[in-house]
């Protein structure tokens, strides 16, 4: 997909003065202290920051896995903070894909069946499901590994399966939480190149949390968090 002018692209994610407080009273931990962020369609955002800066908390809220304490989160113009559990699950099901640091694949389940999982919840028919899953595995370069279980795959391959699972549903946004955190440099670069390719060719919006500057540089935009606030928000010069 050729890149259009940024200004004409639709806003997918908009955060307004987002707060997240864990615990209460003396023990209260202010993880997010007023985040304002806008992410447009087709963007590739790397969220960086030291441990405890709130970057993962923010990603979990973006991924509708967690609720903000206050503030607003609009996903494609819809206020997510007003949705109930099931509505948020529906939103995850239809618009979001997840890639985690720990891969989070179902053990003892073949790569193909892992990729099929979100499609089953979407109610896609068996044959269609298998076709899409094979295509997704092909897209991440795992053709021929369909029947292997996570235990039989290397870390890099497992993360590829996780990416295939995330993109099989053609999500609007792919959320990646330290996708290269458990991988060596060579595998990390492969995964990042795969994400860049998905972003370029399929136009999938990617929000990725990382603390490695090398990985962040693959993105188009880097947002720095510090102490629950956005410290900087820069475009990456290529």
């Amino acid at each position: 997909m050729p890149r259009a002018e940024t200004s004409t692209l639709q806003t997918v994610i908009e955060l307004q003065d987002l707060h997240k407080i864990y615990g209460s009273g003396q023990a209260a931990m202010h993880a997010l202290q007023g985040i304002n962020l806008e992410i447009k369609e087709g963007d590739f955002v790397a969220v960086m920051g030291p441990s405890g800066s709130g970057k993962s908390t923010c990603l979990n809220i973006l991924g509708c896995l967690d609720n903000p304490t206050s503030g607003h989160y609009f996903f494609k113009g819809v206020a997510v903070d007003g949705l109930n559990r099931n509505q948020r699950a529906q939103l995850r099901r239809h618009y979001l894909g997840f890639v985690f640091q720990g891969f989070n694949l179902l053990s003892r389940t073949s790569a193909l069946e892992n990729v099929e999982l979100p499609l089953i919840y979407r109610g896609i028919h068996v044959r269609e499901r298998e076709k899409i899953s094979r295509q997704a595995l092909n897209a991440v370069g795992l053709t021929g590994w369909e029947k292997h279980t996570p235990a039989e795959l290397s870390g890099g391959q497992q993360q590829r399966v996780a990416i295939a699972r995330a993109i099989a549903t053609q999500p609007a946004v792919l959320m990646a939480d330290e996708p290269t955190g458990n991988l060596d440099t060579a595998r990390s670069n492969e995964i990042m190149e795969l994400l860049v390719e998905l972003n370029n060719t399929q136009g999938i919006t990617i929000v990725m949390v990382t603390h490695e500057p090398d990985m962040a540089n693959y993105a188009k935009r880097i947002v720095h968090f510090r102490d629950g606030l956005i410290e900087s928000d820069k475009k990456v010069e290529k």
Binding site: L65, N67, R92, R93, L96, F98, N104, R108, I120, G123
Partner: protein, 401 residues
């Protein structure tokens, strides 16, 4: 969607073969043991009831001596044939009165010998015991009066001494004397107490008295009361008559006893019923233990699988879809365990009924109860822990280690 949930549940079962097998095994053992215990117990009760009926209905037994407690009878003067004759003459509503006396002896034919019990009695004995002849004839009046050396043998004696040979008309030696076989009794099989009822040789009572024991004692008088008459009334009449004949003063206790077979029957069926209840209770405990096994496995697996539930929720599964999957999984596992248990239990009953010689009585109630119990245990303990896990925030479930 239901079909997809079913597929997901089956995949889970397949992914954890060992865990699934253990879960199923608990239910299988519980259900099978309950079914075996109850079915065999019912069979045993039915068998006892049957055998009591075959002993003869409305049977009273009069024996000398007073029962002092379990297995202890006081000694007292034995009856004479005249006592039995007096009962037959003076008590009304009687069908038959059979005096009898016993003596153990070795029966010898050719070079075969068999140690058995000789019963001296009259033709009335067959009437009282509801026993018919397979072949041959009963004693004639002359033979009874004269105490002739003739005998009627039970089926066990025929088998042991004659094999395939026809015993009728043959002579066997009982003790020192030779007796001619005039009849063969129908086979009755084992009694409730486990002794062989066919191991019997009947002689005219006077033949036993004169030729073998050398006294006039009658150790037991068996009486059958006509249908519809009150056994209580007859029992009282007999007691009164015997007190008179035995010269018992009104302030003395009886030195004989009259037992009603109905009482013994009630006692015996009561005992087997109690045994069945006891065995069923043991089986119910094993079902319960099986249930606790399932509970454990389900609880552990849900705890183990909290992270997996987190993954499912994160990629867009609804809470109720995750729950439905666990529910289907629990239902499939516990009901297949229940079914296997029922099949194994019934097969075991079929196998054991010949070994234990107990009739097979199918009780659909217990099958249904055992099955429902296993299904409910599986569902409850599969569902509720899952309910807890699925209600977590996906991110908490994912972080769960």
């Amino acid at each position: 969607m239901i079909w997809d949930t079913f597929i997901l549940a089956l995949r889970e079962i397949r992914r954890h073969v060992l865990r699934s097998l253990l879960t199923v095994l608990g239910i299988v053992i519980g259900v099978a043991s309950v079914i075996v215990m109850v079915t065999l117990g019912n069979g045993a009760t039915a068998q006892v009831t049957d055998q009591i009926a075959s002993l003869g209905s409305n049977l009273l037994m009069v024996s000398p001596g007073k029962r002092m407690g379990p297995g202890r009878d006081s000694t007292a003067a034995p009856f004479k044939i005249a006592d039995a004759e007096a009962i037959a003459r003076e008590v009304s509503s009687l069908n038959a009165v059979a005096p009898s006396a016993n003596k153990s002896a070795t029966a010898i034919y050719g070079n075969a010998n068999w140690s058995t019990t000789l019963t001296g009695t009259t033709n009335e004995y067959l009437k009282v015991r509801n026993w018919s002849m397979a072949t041959g004839r009963e004693f004639s009046d002359d033979e009874e009066r004269a105490g002739s050396a003739v005998c009627i043998i039970g089926d066990t004696i025929r088998k042991e001494l004659f094999g395939q040979e026809d015993p009728l008309g043959q002579r066997i030696r009982l003790g020192k004397l030779s007796f001619q076989i005039i009849g063969l009794l129908d086979a009755k099989g084992q009694s409730t107490m486990g002794n062989d009822q066919d191991d019997i040789v009947l002689l005219p009572i006077r033949a036993l008295h004169r030729r073998i024991v050398g006294n006039q004692d009658v150790s037991l008088i068996q009486i059958s009361v006509i249908d519809g008459a009150s056994t209580e009334k007859v029992q009282q009449d007999i007691e009164a008559l015997m007190r008179e004949r035995r010269h018992i003063a009104s302030n003395e206790d009886d030195n004989f006893q009259v037992r009603d077979m109905k009482e013994i029957a009630t006692m015996l069926t009561g005992t087997t019923k109690m045994l069945t209840a006891l065995l069923s209770a043991v089986a119910a405990v094993s079902l319960l233990v099986g249930g606790i096994g399932i509970m454990n496995i389900m609880l552990v697996s849900v705890t183990e699988r909290t992270r997996e539930i987190g993954i499912r929720l994160a990629i867009g599964a609804l809470e109720r879809e995750v729950l439905m999957q666990f529910l289907v999984e629990a239902v499939v596992l516990s009901s297949s365990g229940g079914l296997i248990g029922i099949i194994l239990g019934l097969l075991a009953c079929f196998g054991l009924k010949d070994v234990l010689q107990v009739p097979f009585i199918f009780d659909p109630g217990i099958v249904i109860i055992a099955f429902l119990f296993s299904a409910i245990v599986g569902v409850v303990f599969g569902y509720f822990p899952a309910l807890k896990a699925a209600s977590l925030d996906p991110i908490d479930a994912l972080r769960h280690e």
